[in-house]
């Protein structure tokens, strides 16, 4: 079942390489992504929280028994919401490009293959499989930016590829360190989490975790490894940016909760303060940089750095075992739950923001915020969607962003009160988003706003697909949190070993 979910899009991508008409290709893209979403919904309904250290929907096929690597996939409370968010984002993108005609067949094939790699990373329960899908996602996104982007796309794509690929090599080095230290040698994530090989090994563990964190830090991205993000986002096509922000950035932070925390408990505790500091710096830096932007897409790109900073902050705070009161364990579990909620929420909201930026590009081919104005009167539906997405992004109560940030700070400040300085980031992001909304939507009709057509049904359906769960989970987060919280407390306990 899970393998079907992961591999079916790649199979369809291979079929789309045959010369089918473009119309069929676009419909196939929507149909496959919708089928994937339905499959995930069914799996969510049938989901039962597995025991600590176990996985649901588990499947395993032996590949290299001498090395302890196998095709091992499974989901738990942390990966299931991310898988659901991924399928939702890809469906929204499929609907969004129904109106485009730049090699739709190849683009559909590429994005279906990309969907397989993203789902594969979340479902992987083996480090080699994780790394394989991680790298293939980099290749897929490179091809998307290079082939369908605009502006300085070749250079941005190459920068993205080289930066994140080299980061993934640092990750591989960390994985090999884990493999060599384990006894018996294995790459299986379940086995490594159950019995962390570098537990109690002091400096070695810290160094190997450092390699893993470096690789994940480039992908997340955190300051100072974030410089590939703004050009990649700005020059990518609309759906490329949406997938990059919504899904690919989560591969890095997912690695933090799936690999760094369970498999390096004591080493992570040594790194915890550094992680909190890096998270705070990223959050503030991202917000300040976003505030200074005049390009819509670059502003949203830096807001991603800000949001991912909160996730890293939460992960670091969850590693500060022993700090805080006797409610420390509950606080840390809340922080982790908040981190994953932020991943899901950011995916939905920033994906929506990038699709809306894609709408702007389609109309006027220009992202300059100052050239617009008064769109609220000319394009009310577009304005409504933009306002909802912007408010969610800044963390307004009633949207999922607030649920995430509340959990992060409630849990994080219990163990690291000095991290409260990151709350300034929320303030800065509010200012940024409101100023952007003000420049785009209010005031006199700007030069580029003249003749700005409102969103077509395909466009608002795709954005609505992302914003509806964000609103729903913002108002009624229980369904999401019921899945997340057991897994988050399991991870919190694993880190305290």
């Amino acid at each position: 079942m899970l393998s079907v979910l992961v591999l079916f899009p790649a199979l369809c991508a291979a079929l789309l390489l045959l010369p089918v008409p473009d119309r069929i290709a676009r419909i196939a893209f929507v149909a496959v992504t919708a089928a994937e979403l339905a499959l995930v919904a069914g799996m969510w309904a049938a989901y039962d929280s597995p025991a600590s250290g176990a996985l649901a929907f588990e499947q395993q096929l032996s590949w290299l028994p001498q090395v302890g690597a196998s095709y091992h996939v499974g989901l738990d409370g942390l990966s299931l919401p991310l898988v659901a968010m991924t399928t939702l984002v890809f469906l929204a993108c499929a609907v969004f490009v129904l109106a485009e005609d730049d090699r739709p067949r190849l683009q559909a094939a590429l994005f279906l293959a990309l969907e397989t790699t993203c789902l594969g990373v979340f479902a992987a329960a083996d480090l080699v499989l994780f790394f394989l899908f991680f790298d293939l996602s980099i290749v897929g996104m490179y091809l998307s930016i290079h082939g369908w982007g605009h502006g300085d796309r070749r250079r941005s794509a190459l920068l993205f590829f080289l930066y994140t690929f080299l980061g993934s090599l640092a990750l591989l080095l960390g994985f090999i360190g884990l493999y060599v230290a384990s006894d018996p040698h294995t790459f299986d994530m379940v086995a490594l989490a159950a019995d962390p090989p570098l537990q109690g090994s002091g400096t070695t563990g810290v160094l190997v975790l450092g390699a893993v964190l470096l690789g994940l830090a480039v992908k997340t991205p955190v300051v100072p490894f974030h410089t590939w993000l703004p050009p990649a986002h700005t020059d990518a096509p609309a759906i490329g940016s949406a997938v990059l922000a919504a899904v690919l950035l989560k591969l890095g932070t997912y690695g933090l909760v799936r690999i760094a925390m369970p498999m390096f408990p004591d080493a992570l505790r040594s790194w915890a303060v550094a992680l909190v500091v890096i998270g705070v710096v990223s959050a503030l830096w991202g917000a300040l940089a976003a505030l200074a932007q005049t390009d819509l897409k670059r502003m949203v790109a830096y807001s991603s750095v800000n949001h991912m900073g909160y996730v890293v902050l939460a992960v670091g705070a969850a590693g500060l075992v022993g700090a805080g009161s006797e409610n420390g364990a509950a606080a840390r579990a809340t922080a982790i739950s908040g981190a994953v909620t932020q991943m899901v929420s950011h995916g939905l909201l920033t994906g929506a923001l990038f699709l809306l930026a894609g709408v702007v590009w389609r109309r006027t081919r220009d992202y300059d915020l100052d050239a617009y104005g008064g769109l609220a009167g000319l394009a009310p539906r577009f304005s409504a969607l933009l306002v909802v997405a912007a408010l969610g992004s800044l963390g307004l109560p009633g949207l999922s962003g607030f649920v995430a940030e509340l959990q992060i700070f409630a849990g994080g400040l219990a163990t690291a009160p000095w991290a409260a300085v990151a709350l300034l980031g929320i303030l800065l992001m509010t200012a940024t988003m409101l100023r952007a909304v003000q420049r785009l939507l209010t005031g006199d009709v700007g030069r580029l706003s003249v003749g700005f057509a409102d969103v077509t049904p395909r466009e608002w359906v795709s954005v609505g697909l992302l914003l509806a769960p964000a609103v729903w989970w913002g108002l009624a987060p229980r369904p999401l949190l019921d899945v997340l919280e057991p897994a988050a407390s399991v991870v919190a306990d694993l880190v305290a070993r």
């Binding site: 032996s62 590949w63 290299l64 028994p65 001498q66 090395v67 080699v128 790394f131 394989l132 790298d135 290079h146 070749r154 794509a157 190459l158 080289l162 690929f165 090599l169 080095l173 090999i176 493999y179 060599v180 040698h185």
Partner: protein, 475 residues
Amino acid sequence: MSDLRTLLPEVLLLGGAVGCLLLGSWTPRHRQERVVLLAGLVVIAAGAVSAHALGGAATTAYSGTVTVDGLTGILRLSVLGSLLVVLMLVRHELADSPRESEVVVLLLLGGLGVLVLGASTDLAVLTVAFLLASIPLYGLIGLSPGAAAPEAVMKTYLLGALAGIWLMLGAAVLTGLTGTTAYSDLDGVREAPLAAAVGGVVLVVLGLLFKAGSVPMHFWVPDAVEGASTTAAAFLTTVPKLGAVVAAARLLEALPAQERWALLVAGLAAAGMVVGNLVALTQGDVRRLLGWSAVGQVGFLLAVVAAVPSVGEAAAVLGMFVAGYAAANLTCFAALAAEPDRRTIADWRGTGHARPGLVGALGVGLLALVGTPPTGVFVAKLLTFEVIIEAGLTWLAVLVALSTLIGLAYYLRWLAACLTAPDESGTQDHEPAEGAGIPDVGGSGRRMAVGVAGGCAAVAVLLGLAARTVLGTIG
């Protein structure tokens, strides 16, 4: 008679070489495809026999002078597979040239020599196999068109002659110390005077390193790759290397289990890795880049060989690495064959846009050479780390990791150039370099080269996915 049956693939190759020579002598120049076809059929037949013999118990032939076991089996399949690919490149690059049949015969004989080199467990047979493997190489390089070929063949020949003499001298010393030429008696080296034993072994190893193209007998490789035709370059960076490392592994296994022999090979491996990869970083000519990368790659192979005496699984890992390396290397050369006029990295700019399939295959080949999952070289390198560390050579494992990273730099530099926009000058395209003289290739020929590149890339990936089967067959 049973000896002949054990060595049937080699006998088939020999018969095929003679048959191709006779057939080629009486074939008009424009009908030489029948010679290539005969050679291809012979190689496929030999491959079928080898595959059939795989998985059987280890046997020896001719009074124990050659051994046919799992390692020989995988060597046979890798060499025969490489020969098949190179024969396709012959058809692509040298079709209707005056020396096509001669090149085919030399390829078959060179392959035969390499097979016997890898299977031999006797110093005398080793020497003969060395000569049989080396001399066709001189012919292949020398028969290449182009102004750089004579210099390349001169360098190769002189170094090869020196290596051959050293090999024979070393074999003579070892025979004098132990009394026989058989590997099984090499244990007697333990009681021999240290200087003589070390001298003998070092000389033999240096001779083998010429064939492997490794430091310190590597100086011929970059020039040969640059000056020879793409077919010859593909052959000489792939096939002799495979046999030489297997021969080194057998020699090391036969020597007494003293640490010094493994350390010797480990030191040579380290030198090869570091020198090859560092110099490759500075290369702008793609052929010289691949030549120096081959020098670096053999360092990795020798690192596994260093672990062979102490770790049982190292032989299987060596076989996996041999097969994976052959597939990956041939992919890159097949891609070169499809675009023979692009001599420097800068010439390859814009090919990603013009020839996406070719650059895709080339990308897979380059990343397969580095060892990214899920290719065969990745599995082999992973297991290499394990066996090297188990053999107590952790410093070597660190060097393998660092060299892999350095290798990634120059492979990615080439790939990145393919994917950037072509130069605005526009006149840069398809300007043959000074004295290239490579024959012009028609449109359909280029498609065949791309097909060959794609096929080899697929094999490189499949070897990784089917790694369990491959490793199990070697044992």
